[in-house]
């Protein structure tokens, strides 16, 4: 039987660009280039490796976002995913993690799945809670923050490196997995992969397709509200000295003046 893998990916503003907020205090996506969240590349990579090990597997990449978000899907398809699902709806603008997770859960259920793989966090919101929320919504085990992951005989196993301990985890499928940046370097799309991606199917869904009311999502339907966003004042220029043989002592003098010594 085919192993159905759904990889959730996010289209995010480039962290090296000048990220800021729009007037409605949502993330401004117009003035900065977007791309597939780097941490989701690890999720795609692990999906590809798990699919390689399985007798028969199909990888669907899923995203929720505006038209541009198709770029993130194309990247994942060019890495080797089989097909894509794009949830796009004008009413989704400003949706927070609770709404996004609702949309993803409905889309995952509609697509059908045995294994959901996510990155550990997005590189814009960086909350790191979506995989756990998806597991809660789908009612399946969460096997999260894995640095190693494998699937065999309907069981997913993985290693979680926590603050206090390293844990070996296992759960029966279906399950939600998230992987860290320690899970293995993501492959670059080959030219062949990029050409093949153009022919792969991208299914578009809107809120009606998922039986979600507009008031459950979007800025108005959000479960949290941002009241203000202030740019951090630029740091005042610090003192910079060139080491002429006394640099360590000078630094110690500074630390002493600040009462750190």
């Amino acid at each position: 039987m085919s192993l159905r893998i759904v990889v959730c990916v996010k289209y995010v503003p480039d962290a090296t660009g000048d990220r800021h907020f729009a007037d409605d205090l949502t993330v401004d996506r117009d003035d900065v280039d977007g791309l597939l969240s780097e941490l989701d590349e690890y999720a795609v990579e692990q999906a590809l490796q798990i699919a390689d090990e399985a007798d028969d597997a199909e990888i669907t990449v899923l995203t929720v976002g505006p038209e541009d978000a198709k770029d993130a899907l194309r990247k994942a398809l060019s890495m080797g995913a089989d097909k894509a699902v794009h949830v796009e709806d004008d009413d989704l603008h400003g949706t927070d993690v609770m709404g996004t997770s609702l949309v993803l859960a409905k889309a995952i259920e509609k697509t059908g799945y045995d294994l959901v793989i996510c990155g550990m966090a997005s590189t814009d919101g960086v909350m790191g809670v979506l995989p756990a929320i998806l597991a809660e919504r789908l009612g399946v085990p969460q096997v999260t923050l894995l640095s190693e992951v494998s699937v065999e005989d309907g069981v997913v196993k993985g290693r979680r490196d926590g603050d206090a301990a390293t844990e070996q985890l296992e759960a029966s499928l279906p399950a939600v997995v998230s992987v860290t940046d320690q899970s293995g370097e993501a492959r670059y799309p080959s030219f062949k992969g990029i050409m093949a991606a153009k022919k792969k199917p991208v299914e578009s869904l809107d809120l009606d397709d998922l039986d979600i009311d507009a008031d459950e999502v979007g800025l108005e339907g959000a479960w949290t509200k941002v009241d203000s966003a202030a740019e951090r004042p630029a740091r005042t220029a610090g003192t910079i000295v060139k080491d002429e043989g006394e640099g360590g002592k000078q630094l110690a003098q500074f630390l002493a003046s600040q009462k750190f010594i």
Partner: protein, 320 residues
């Protein structure tokens, strides 16, 4: 006054510092009721009472250790239903965030993660967050349900505020899903004897310029002279010079100490995302163009193999 649930992060009864900070913040929005789970839960009560917990709800069961996250969500939900709090505060550890998030779904509430401050507002607690690699500071609130907020370490002072801290057993019935993810084995991390990275008042980090695992002894020597934790940039971790658990940055730990010392670190955006809220920043780097120098209060352009040993010796001699 309304009660506020505070989830307790502890190791065998020893309460970790971020939980004590959380009690300081909780007192601004209500009366703290602590929830301590697992082995040693009751032993946390004295410390929690000393820092303001009016009640301490405790539960222990094998499920907390044998299965991932969900048993703790079941317990926190039981506490939520018994207390009907005005807010739920949880430390922003990896596990804390997952527990908080699943609870929020169950109780139909919004969630705010990684707050760096909380104050009382007209419409409930207002959380301050630092976003986009600390380029912006936002103020947010939960607009549906009971606010569930996770708070980063070093966000508030630890204050003594003696309260009753009455211990009460929490009745927990585990859900069907509690045993879904089995913890097959657990290997505790070996203690370095140094402070925990995310909680430390001073952090000394090494990067690409350290140029080898063996040279990290130099960074550790400097850290020990200051009583600091040791961090590493992603470049140093990817090169295998230092463990991933010490990685500071977007995909590693986010730190906000009183003093951050960056040695041999250029200061890529991904690293800055994890340390830019440090109160005082100093750097040692031989490249005068390194972006880290844009952030520093004090920077030394020089060879770290000369500057760091001199600095360490000077600190030791000043401390006598």
């Amino acid at each position: 006054m309304a009660e506020v649930l505070v989830y307790v992060d502890h190791v065998d009864g020893a309460v970790r510092k971020p939980t004590l900070e959380l009690l300081t913040l909780a007192r601004r929005v209500g009366e703290p009721v602590a929830v301590a789970l697992g082995p040693g839960a009751e032993a946390t009560a004295a410390t929690l009472a000393e820092h303001g917990a009016t009640r301490v709800l405790t539960a222990d069961a094998a499920e907390f250790a044998d299965y991932l996250v969900v048993p703790k969500v079941d317990a926190l939900q039981a506490a939520y239903e018994s207390v009907s709090p005005a807010a739920v505060l949880v430390p922003s550890s990896a596990e804390g965030k997952e527990i908080a998030a699943r609870l929020a779904v169950r109780i139909g509430s919004g969630i705010i993660t990684d707050a760096i401050d909380i104050e009382a507002g007209d419409e409930g607690p207002v959380a301050t967050q630092s976003v986009f690699a600390a380029a912006f500071t936002t103020k947010s609130r939960v607009s549906k349900g009971t606010p569930v907020i996770t708070v980063k370490p070093n966000s508030a002072p630890v204050e003594a505020a003696p309260a009753a801290g009455a211990v009460e057993a929490l009745a927990v019935s585990f859900s069907d899903k509690a045993t879904g993810t089995k913890v097959v084995s657990r290997t505790p991390r070996e203690s370095t004897g140094r402070p925990e990275l995310t909680e430390a008042a001073i952090v000394v980090s090494g990067g690409r310029g350290v140029n080898g695992a063996e040279n990290f002894a130099l960074i550790e020597g400097l850290a020990d002279s200051l009583g600091a934790a040791v961090g590493a940039s992603r470049a140093a971790v990817d090169a295998g010079w230092y463990p991933h658990t010490s990685q500071v940055g977007q995909t590693g730990k986010s730190v906000s100490p009183q003093l951050y010392v960056a040695t041999g670190i250029s200061g890529a955006i991904q690293h800055r995302a994890g340390m830019q809220t440090s109160k005082t920043i100093v750097a040692i780097n031989k490249d005068p163009e390194a972006p880290i120098f844009d952030l520093v209060d004090y920077g030394v352009v020089g060879d770290l193999f000369e500057v760091v040993p001199q600095l360490t010796d000077e600190i030791k001699s000043r401390k006598g």
